[in-house]
Symmetry: C2
Subunit: 290 residues, 2 copies
Amino acid sequence: MKRLMAEVNISEGKDKTLINEVREALLKNDVEVIDIDSEPNHNRTVFTYIGDPQNVLQGTKDLAAKAVELIDMTKHTGSHPRMGAVDVVPFIPVKDITTEEAVEIAKEFGKYLGSLGVPVYYYEDATDNPDRKSLVKIRKGQYEAFEEKMKHEEWKPDEGPFEFVPKSGATVTGVRFPLVAFNVNLITENIDICKKIVQAIRGATGGYKYVRAIALPLEEEKMIQISMNLVNYEKTPIHRVFETIKSEARAYGISVAGTELVGPVPLMALEDVLDHYLQTHNFSMEQIYL
Amino acid sequence: MKRLMAEVNISEGKDKTLINEVREALLKNDVEVIDIDSEPNHNRTVFTYIGDPQNVLQGTKDLAAKAVELIDMTKHTGSHPRMGAVDVVPFIPVKDITTEEAVEIAKEFGKYLGSLGVPVYYYEDATDNPDRKSLVKIRKGQYEAFEEKMKHEEWKPDEGPFEFVPKSGATVTGVRFPLVAFNVNLITENIDICKKIVQAIRGATGGYKYVRAIALPLEEEKMIQISMNLVNYEKTPIHRVFETIKSEARAYGISVAGTELVGPVPLMALEDVLDHYLQTHNFSMEQIYL
């Protein structure tokens, strides 16, 4: 059974009536909602749901159409970077679906949103343009920069009008591997040591290729958090990163107070963890029931 | 959503046509099959499935009626202990269902099977009779002993006729907590040390209350397996037993070659394992998607 996930970020995290109308538009469709997370400070809501690819596509169209109708970006403020009413829409292949099939869904969604008058950019696995692979690059300067950016040929959108649309801003959509957000809290207040640990584990500085990491002080707890995105849990599994952090920390006499797996986690990512710690060399996810 | 599991053991593990007819009877119902495991040496097949309690009840009735129709116990041989064509039928409450509700289902099934002329005994959580709590006690002497046993008032069945029925034999049904079958392979051929490790961990000899264990030589591999049933993974979790085995083995310089989780494993049982090894103190199963 094909399973596709969508994680739709919209630029409204306070107005409950509005968020609820958007939610209702989604729920007309047969999708399984995993999480709806509104952050008032970010002024942003993330809808995460899963299901048959066609149902997920239709649900995403309905959700996005409602968000574009109701959200006015000319009035939006919030602490999280953003460029549009429907900000970023990653589709995530979960089961029995190839990246290519997911890219087709993302492009069907992109065409639809473009037809509503929203400039749409494809990113990650949905584009071959190296300047559009990264959300951070496309969103640089945020909503406010797009009026200027859209005067330049390099920012011609992949779908929709080649002009700045003040009310909706622009949308990024595409396909990416499931992220695992994993934080490790260390019993120390020495940020320099923690930065060394971050350097040891993250891909950008010679660590594990698929780890993005930063060290954040947790002032109230008098601890420091290594906050990570594991962007390919198959090639860089959770337990390997965790064991490396423990080993590096131990060299400074620093212990782990605890960890956090944040948001939805694919069962697949946990299978490797179980195999490692329980030494089950042949355990299969098919054995799990719930 | 209520989820009930059934694990139906029938006394036929060789005749594929027969097993398939029984399977077809089950599959007329809307249940999710987790596993169908036929063991020719045991001459036994275990059907494991899950679903809405009423669907599971109806599926179990249909499966059992077909097995009772087709299997003739007067001709049955096999290495696994057994007492009837439909041998033992545990119902296992998996989600949003109380033990009491599951007991009602087990009794509806027992009444139905009794009405087909099969003597039925309730066990585990479906009985208050201390002599009928344990399957091993009820099945003592196996099929062959029942002709004699059923001459005595203490073996009056809970449902069905109070007489030996040669063709069907008798059936045990009831409700139990999900079992986890967990084996640990130790790199040693010293059975005496392994028996000491077994004593250290199993409830019957002062170890963990909900662990049943034996030590089995794996002659080809030149190893010894600690073979366990964890009968309450909430109160005696997998990782705690595993860590104790590793610690006891280490005292003799013995290492773990690997482990096996056998058959279906409830996701709940794995949550504790993840929490322990990853030190995620607040991880919730609701975060897992598949």
